[in-house]
Each structure stands twice: as C-alpha cells, then as structure tokens.
C-alpha cells in the first residue's frame, strides 16, 4: 500500500469510527484503540517523512480531487518541508498525549471513548490543515478543528472550563470569519482573473490593488494572530490552557496554535507578498512585544498552567519574529521553533499536569521540595523548563538562536530587545522550579507518588527528541531549509550580506 496523506487522515478517522462503535463502559479498550490508532498514524507519518525528497522544493505527496467544482474547490493536499515537519510533530505528539493523559478523561462530563473520538478527529483535522493546498479546504479544517477542541476543553477540562471554551471558540470564530471575508474576496478576484479557484499557487499570482491586498492580508493575519496567539489577541490562551486537561493543552498549544504561525508562512506571505512587506514592521513590533510581555506575565503567574501558557505566548512571539525577519535563518529557525516548541511545551504541560493531578492543585505555592519526594517527576519538569528557556544543547536553543541571528541581520533593534527575553525566560522557569521543586518539602507534598512506568514511557521520547535535536538538528533543518529559502526568495528577499566584508 502506498503511503498518502489521505490515508494518513483516514487512519484517525477510522479509529474514531471504531471507537464510536465500542461500548461506553469499556474505557480501557477505548484507550487502547486510541493509542493504537495514533501509533499507527505516527508510523505512517514517519514513513512519509522517509520517502520525502529533501531538496525538492515542489510539493510532494500531492493529491487533488474535485470537491465542489462549480466553486473551483478541490480536495487538494500536498507537502513541503514546512508542512511535513509540522505534520510529523502532530503525529508524534498524538500517541504521547494519549499515553500521558491515560486517565484525563475521567474528570470529564462524558465517556472516555468520546474523549478519544474528539482527540482522533482533532488529529485528523490538524493533519489536514497542514496538508491542505486548497485555501477553501484549509479554511474548512481551520474552522472545523475548533469544534472538537471546544468540546475537549468544555467537556473534560477543570475549573471554569465552559467559560474558557466559549472564549476560545468565539475568539477563533471571530478571526475565522474575518478570514472568510478575505477568502471570499480572493475567490471573486480569481473569478475575475480567469476562473474561480482556491489553489494556493494560482491565487498567489492574482493581481490586486495594494489597498485590497492589505485588507485581505489583515483578514488572514488577524485570524492567525488570534490562533498563534500574538499580543494583544492572546487573552483566550491562558484561560483555555488553565481549564483544559494537560493532554488537550498540549494539542492546543503544541499543535493547534501552530496553525496560526504556519498560516502566516503559507498564506499571508505567499498570497500577499506586497502587503507582507507593508505590514512587516508592525508585525515585528507585535512579535517583540509578545516576547517580552508574555515573559513578564509568565513571571507574574501564580498558577503553573497559566505560567506555561504565557511562556508560549512569548515563544510564539519568537516564531512570528523569525517568520517576518525574512532571512533564511529566521525562517528556518521559526519553523524549527514550531517543532521544538511543540515538544518542550508538551513536556512542560504533561509534567505540570501530573504534578497538579497528584497534588490536586496547580497553584505553584502549593508545591515545594518535590525534588526530594518525587525526583523523577521533578527532573522531568526541570528538564522541560531548561528546554523552554532554550538551554544550549537542547533543541529549542538552536531554533531560538537561529531566529535571533536571522532577525539581527535585518532588524538588529528588534533582535536585541527580543534577546532580553532569554533572561526573563531564566526567571520564569527558575522561579517555579525553586518554589515547586526546591526548598523544604511543604505539607501536603510529603507523600506524592513519583512517575509511574506509563508516565515515564510517555515522557521519555519527548525528552529524547529535545536532547537529540539539540545536538543534531540537521535532519529537520535539511528538510526545512529548501522550503524556507523558497518562501523567502518568492518574496524577493535574500539574506543580508555581512556588512563589513562587502558581501565577500
């Protein structure tokens, strides 16, 4: 059987179908099915990644079937380096999330099987959204994705879950509808210029007045900025991350939010090159603000989950910065950053989730001296933290530094300000580390249990990947670089030459 993206999307859907056929009562079976499905799709994805030809900048694994011909809408999917990396991340994270969140569904309003159906549907849509090469198809996944997440947060979360879910959904829908307006405009324009189409390639050749282009760009960008989330569109994220179960949070911050930054690359940049140039300065500013702002707020948080959420806002600032720096380093760095952030956030959220589920609270102040009580858990958290503050030798360092260098060559000031983020990062990681892991063991923590075997198995691959890519990121970079450079050159940018050597 030849590997195809359709197959890859069909797998989780099939799994979901199987699950829905299962009896409600047998939770364990549901979990096993979910785990099996995600593992298989992970394997398939890896297979695809292996078959992927690195230095071929054309889309690969392309499929295209008519969907709604009268609107020129196709079911069209394909891979370039960037989407491949993100799909890889999604597919690898999924089984980890399932395994790590083995008992998450218990606190939910509904049965375990429903939980995993939602997870699988979400995985399928996430893959679809990264693979789509038809704007309409992308939009369909982009919006439809919200529904499973909405129910995951509202149905299985904790605390103010429904409020958080609604906030998340409304925010995203608002952005989505702006984007819809832009998409309609694109559709009409394409109709005026030789045939309705939603093919990304074709649309990128449309002629439009700079005014139109700017407006349409904004329509897309705001949607993505809300997803990513970029300051000041971020306020839904902490609530959502706080309310959602750890597993959901991982999918939310690790995968779903990447759609925002991915969309910026795939749609904002390629469809509206001129508008991109117009808005780049503004966006750079927003990105820098996000970096610093998110970091400061993370420092100010009392709740571990909210803290992690804000660190992500800071990190998404870095990603956006890298994307709009318009240098190959910045761009590759940003994409690599998306991948790495997926795993370091996963590590943070999963461990934080285990901590709070054991302690029955996610308030940092409630913890203390865990390093003595639960060394393995404490170590995992510390490691995750180190990767989040981009310690050299861990994956996120490579991406973060690439972003910074790439930005510096074109926007030195922005890069300099952003670099202060790494000091703040040290603060927002070490403060919780000290409060929760160090110091005397505070009452209520004396007999927390350490990680179970299942949890260890779940966290090990994450740590392994973070460590491995820290020392040897080339496999990914080799895939990303061609795509990234392609995007840059499409926009007519090339890396600035060293100032002192007259480009020699």
């Amino acid at each position: 059987m030849t590997l195809s993206l359709t197959l890859l999307m069909a797998l989780p859907l099939f799994g979901a179908a199987v699950l829905s056929a299962l009896p409600k009562t047998n939770a364990l079976l549901a979990k096993q099915v979910a785990l099996g499905t995600t593992l298989v799709s992970a394997a398939v994805t890896i297979g695809i990644a292996v078959q992927f030809q690195r230095d071929n900048i054309d889309l690969q694994f392309v499929e295209s079937h008519q969907w709604i011909p009268s609107f020129g809408i196709n079911y069209a999917v394909g891979l370039d380096g960037i989407s491949l990396v993100l799909i890889l991340m999604t597919a690898v994270l999924a089984p980890i999330v399932v395994l790590a969140g083995w008992n998450e569904s218990q606190s939910g309003r509904w049965s375990t099987k429903t939980f995993y159906i939602l997870i699988l549907v979400l995985e399928m849509m996430a893959i679809g959204v990264f693979a789509a090469t038809d704007v309409f198809l992308f939009y369909v996944f982009f919006e439809a994705m919200l529904v499973p997440v909405y129910f995951l947060i509202g149905g299985y979360g904790t605390g103010k879950r429904s409020a958080a879910a609604v906030k998340f959904l409304l925010y995203s829908l608002f952005g989505g509808l702006l984007m819809l307006a832009s998409i309609i405009a694109l559709y009409v324009l394409s109709g005026e210029q030789g045939g309705h189409t939603f093919d990304t390639q074709a649309l990128s050749h449309l002629h439009m007045s700079s005014m139109t282009q700017n407006l349409l760009f904004l329509g897309f960008f705001i949607a993505f900025a809300i997803k990513a989330p970029l300051w000041p569109f971020h306020t839904w994220l902490p609530d959502a991350a706080d309310a959602a179960t750890p597993g959901t949070s991982v999918l939310l911050l690790g995968v779903l939010d990447k759609v925002g930054t991915f969309g910026m690359i795939r749609y904002c940049l390629t469809l509206f090159p001129n508008a991109t140039k117009t808005f780049t300065p503004t966006i750079i500013v927003l990105a820098v603000i996000s970096i610093i702002y998110g970091a400061f707020l993370a420092i100010g948080q009392k709740d571990i989950k909210r803290l992690i959420a804000f660190t992500s806002i800071s990190h998404f600032g870095f990603i956006t910065l890298g994307i709009f720096a318009m240098t190959s380093q910045g761009h590759s760095g940003a994409t690599l950053y998306m991948f790495n952030h997926g795993f370091s956030t996963a590590a943070l959220f999963l461990v934080a989730g285990w901590m709070s589920s054991r302690r029955g609270s996610s308030t940092i102040a409630d913890f203390g001296g865990l390093q003595r009580v639960t060394p393995v858990m404490a170590w995992s958290f510390f490691f995750a933290g180190m990767s989040s503050l981009a310690l050299p030798g861990l994956s996120s360092f490579v991406s973060e530094f690439l972003v910074l260098v790439g930005t510096f060559t074109r926007y030195p000031v922005a890069a300099v300000i952003a670099t202060f983020g790494i000091v703040l990062a040290a603060l927002y990681i070490l403060i919780p580390v000290q409060r929760a892991l160090h110091g005397p063991t505070t009452p209520g923590n004396e007999n927390l249990s350490d990680l179970t075997l299942r949890e260890k198995i779940a966290i090990t691959p994450v740590i392994a990947i973070i460590l491995f890519l820290g020392f040897y990121p080339s496999p990914l970079l080799k895939v990303i670089n061609p795509a990234a450079t392609h995007v840059i050159s499409q926009l007519g940018f090339s890396d600035p030459a060293p100032t002192q050597l007259g480009g020699k």
Binding site: I68, S70, F71, R109, V140, G154, L180, A181, A185
Partner: protein, 505 residues
C-alpha cells in the same frame, strides 16, 4: 366584443391543482368521516397529495412556459427548484404536524373550559390542519411562479390565511397561541394592504398587471417614475414583511413563539422559501432594470436585518424566540442574495433556502421533543444539561445550531459562502462585511445554547426528552442527514441548482 377561451397549461399547473384537490378532499373528509378515523386518513391523504405533487413537479422540470394560464403563471428552472423545495419541506414538516401533541383538541372551545378537557380526554384532534396546510402549500407553490399582480396577491393571501388560523391551534398556552394568531393576522392583513397599494401603483405606472408588461415599461422608461417608486416601495413592504426583515419583522418572534411548534417549523421554513422565491423573481426579472432605485435600500435593510437579528437573539431566553430572531438574521443573509442580482446570487439563494429550510424544520422538530409534564418547554434555562440526559437529541440540535452559525462541514457554511461570494461579486462589499460581522455575533448565541445543553448542570425542574414518535423521528433524521450531506458534499445539489437557476422573462 369577443371572448377568447382561456388556455390553461394543465401540466404546469398540475402540482398546484393536485394540492388543491387534496385540500378539498380533506375538507370533505372533515365533513363526512368519523372523528376517530380522520387523523390517519388525513395524514395519508396529505402525504400522498404532496408526494404526487412532488413527483409531478419533478416530471415537468424541463418544461418552461411564459404563458401558462394566460400569462398569469410562469414556469422555469427556478420555479421548479422552489416548488421542489417547498414540497420537500412541507412533507417533512407534515410528520411534525401529525404528532398530535401539538394541537388543541377543540379549537372552538374556551381555554381551560370543560368541553376542552372532554375533547382532550376523547383524544380528539383538529384534523383541519391538514387541509389548511395543503391550502397554504398551494399558495406557496403559486407565489413564486405568479407572473401578474393579481395572481401574486391571491397567492399571497392563499398562503397566509391558513397560516393565520394554524397559528392559533396550539394545544398548550392557548391564550398565547390565539394572540399569536391575532397578531399574525392583523399585521399580515396590514402588510398585504401595503402590498396591494403598491401593486396598484405599479399598474398605474405601466398600465399592465403582467410582470412582463411592467418590466417592459421599466426598460422602456415610459410612464411616471413616481408611480413606479411608490409601487416598488409598497410592494417591497409586503414582501419584506413575509420574509421578516427589519423593520417589518416584529410579528415573527411573537408568532414563532405562540404558534404550535409544528406550525412554526412549517411556516418558518416554507413561507420563507415561497416569499423569497417571489422576491427573487420580482427583483431579478421585473425590477431588474430599476436596480438603481431599490438596490441601495435593500442593502441597508439587509445590513440592519442581519445585525438586528443576530444582536437581539443574544438576549433571548426562549428557544423559539431565539430561533425566530436567528431566522430574521438569515432573512438578512438571504436579502444579500437578492441584492447580488446575478446568476450566482440566484443559485446561492436557492441553495441557502433549501439548506436553511431543512435545518429549521429539524431544529423545531427537536424543540417539540423537549417537554415536561405541562408539555413543551421552550425556556432556555430549563434546557440546561440536556446533553447529559439525552446526548443524541442535544448533539443533533447542536449540529443544527452550528449549521445556522455557518461552521464548515455543515450546509449552513456552504450556503453562507456561496451567497456572500455572489453578493461580493456584484460589488456589495459592505453588505458582505456586515454579514460576516453578524455571523460572528450570531455564533455567540448559538454557542450559548450549546453551552447550556452540554456544559451546564441541570436544575431540579429538569425537562425530559420524550422518545420521539416515529413521525417526528423521520423529520429529525431526514433533516439531519440532509444538513450533513450538504455540508460535506454539496457539489451535486449545487450543480443541479446551477443547471436550472435561470429566470426566463
């Protein structure tokens, strides 16, 4: 002077004639059959009639004629599509109407009087609803194919009068129901007076009552524009009233709430189709060349309607009222289709009408299922926790709501996209923006209901969901399936519509 014997194209009129015949037979049955036997017979008769009519319509799909019935009826692709839609919607709503929980046992009896209770105990039913429905359907079938002012007016009344009565037949909260009937009737009559007055001036303008004639004189520019403008304005009042556009919307929330839910479903879905059908024909063919005069106004009305509908819906506490306001908002969306005034707009509107109509019937069908000891419960707060008690019903309802909100993979999304893109294509950008904005607002209250059903724990006076009767179940499932199908793979229907959606003049 010499008379020409009228030539009637019976093939084209047959659907309407069939329905009318069925209705008359129904009246006979009321007169001659015993109470006990009536319900089942009436149901079979009605269903049969509608199905035959449907088949007949389908058979004549390719015939087009400007001059059926001496040019007072016109039949073409859109006419075919609209009649199909109306019939399909009627058929699935008949199942609802047949569910006897909805109607009073004895319309004539005073609310709470002894004879009412007796009648209820006897299990009597007002089987009159069946013929009434059929009459209304006949009117609806005629409305979008009428091609002169008389027929248009007659059709309007034909579809309205039965509905006025049906609105008053609710089994529970009869005072409200009667009030709804009164309001609907008075306002309906009021607006049709405007309609007629407008018609008079159009006649005055062109000297002819046939659409073709009026169109000619508009194209020719002969005649007094003042008459034309007054005519267009007042005629529009009548039409906009029927579709429930702001500021002519005020009746719909009250009537939707007061009327028996089955009737509401039928009315909300089918009347919209008929009214918009007529509107599309009139604006696309008759008034097309006077676009300069009405297009801006309709745009404004569309914007106001969309925003107002979505906005006020946020504050509703009653499911049926909420759906009423949502239907107002959707009327706004549909008017954008009228403004578009291009082929895409026509097909989009028809698709939207179909998708929306089906989803509406489905949604109201669900509403009939949520009850407590005192019957139907439309108070939203008491819907809390429905998702826990009966997940399936809640999920399907949520799905309909998402369809209304226009979330991808539902029919609503395709509809929205197509109608907006059509309007945008014709340059009505501002309307599209407003539409997008109001969809954002609308999402707000659809989601509120979903939250209520799934994420809120139920109160002690929890509602129960009755096991749907076979009939209601059919309604729900059919409309659900169609909504899903149109969301996932709308291509066939769209192509089908595109094939037929051309007005002949």
């Amino acid at each position: 002077m010499k008379f020409t014997t009228p030539v009637l194209d019976y093939a084209i009129l047959s659907p309407i004639l069939i329905v009318l015949a069925g209705a008359l037979i129904g009246v006979m049955i009321e007169a001659f059959l015993s109470k006990t036997r009536r319900p089942i017979v009436q149901l079979i008769l009605t269903l049969g009639t509608l199905l035959i009519a449907l088949v007949q319509v389908f058979r004549i799909r390719n015939t087009t004629s400007l001059s059926a019935a001496m040019g007072s009826v016109i039949f073409d692709g859109p006419a075919f599509l609209l009649q199909m839609t109306i019939l399909i919607i009627s058929i699935i709503s008949i199942f609802l109407i047949a569910d006897n929980e909805n109607f009073t046992a004895l319309a004539a009896a005073l609310p709470g009087s002894i004879e009412e209770q007796e009648a209820t105990c006897k299990g009597n039913q007002v089987t009159e609803v069946y013929p009434l429905t059929l009459f209304a359907v006949a009117g609806m079938l005629l409305f979008p194919i009428a091609s002169d002012l008389i027929t248009l007016f007659v059709a309007l009344e034909m579809l309205s009068l039965p509905l006025y009565l049906m609105a008053g037949l609710s089994r529970r909260r009869r005072l409200m129901s009667q009030e709804a009937a009164l309001k609907y009737f008075l306002l309906g009559a009021f607006s049709s007076a405007f309609f007629l007055f407008g018609a008079a001036y159009l006649y005055g303008y062109s000297g002819l009552i046939s659409f073709a004639g009026i169109r000619e004189s508009i194209v020719g520019g002969t005649g007094n524009d003042v008459f034309l403008l007054i005519g267009i304005a007042f005629l529009s009042v009548g039409l906009l009233f029927k579709v429930g556009a702001v500021p002519f919307h005020a009746w719909s929330p009250d009537v939707y709430q007061g009327a028996p839910t089955a009737v509401t479903a039928f009315m909300a879905a089918a009347t919209k189709v008929a009214a918009f059908g007529a509107m599309l024909r009139i604006y696309y063919t008759v008034f097309a060349n006077a676009q300069w005069s009405w297009s801006p106004l309709l745009s404004v009305i569309a914007i106001i309607t969309m925003l107002f509908g979505s906005f006020v819906a946020i504050a509703q506490r009653d499911v049926k009222r909420m759906l009423a306001y949502s239907s107002i908002a959707h009327a706004g969306f549909l008017i954008t289709g009228v403004i578009a005034l291009n082929k895409a707009g026509l097909s989009a509107s028809i698709f939207y009408l179909f998708a929306y109509g089906i989803a509406t019937v489905g949604a109201f069908a669900i509403v009939t299922l949520v009850r407590d000891s005192a019957g139907e419960v439309s108070d939203l707060n008491r819907w809390a926790g429905l998702g826990k008690r009966s997940p399936w019903v809640a999920t399907i309802f949520a799905f309909f709501l998402l369809a209304f909100a226009g979330i991808p993979l539902t029919s609503g999304f395709i509809g929205k996209f197509s109608i907006f893109s059509a309007a945008y294509e014709s340059g009505a950008k501002s309307v599209v923006i407003a539409g997008v904005l109001s969809s954002a607002i609308a999402a707000f209250f659809y989601i509120r209901v979903i939250v209520l059903m799934f994420f809120t724990d139920s109160h002690e006076d929890a509602t129960t969901v009755v096991i749907p009767s076979v009939l209601t179940r059919i309604t729900v499932i059919v409309s659900f399936v169609i909504t899903v199908a149109l969301g996932v793979y709308p291509a066939p229907l769209i192509d089908f519509i595109n094939k037929f959606a051309i007005f002949i003049r």
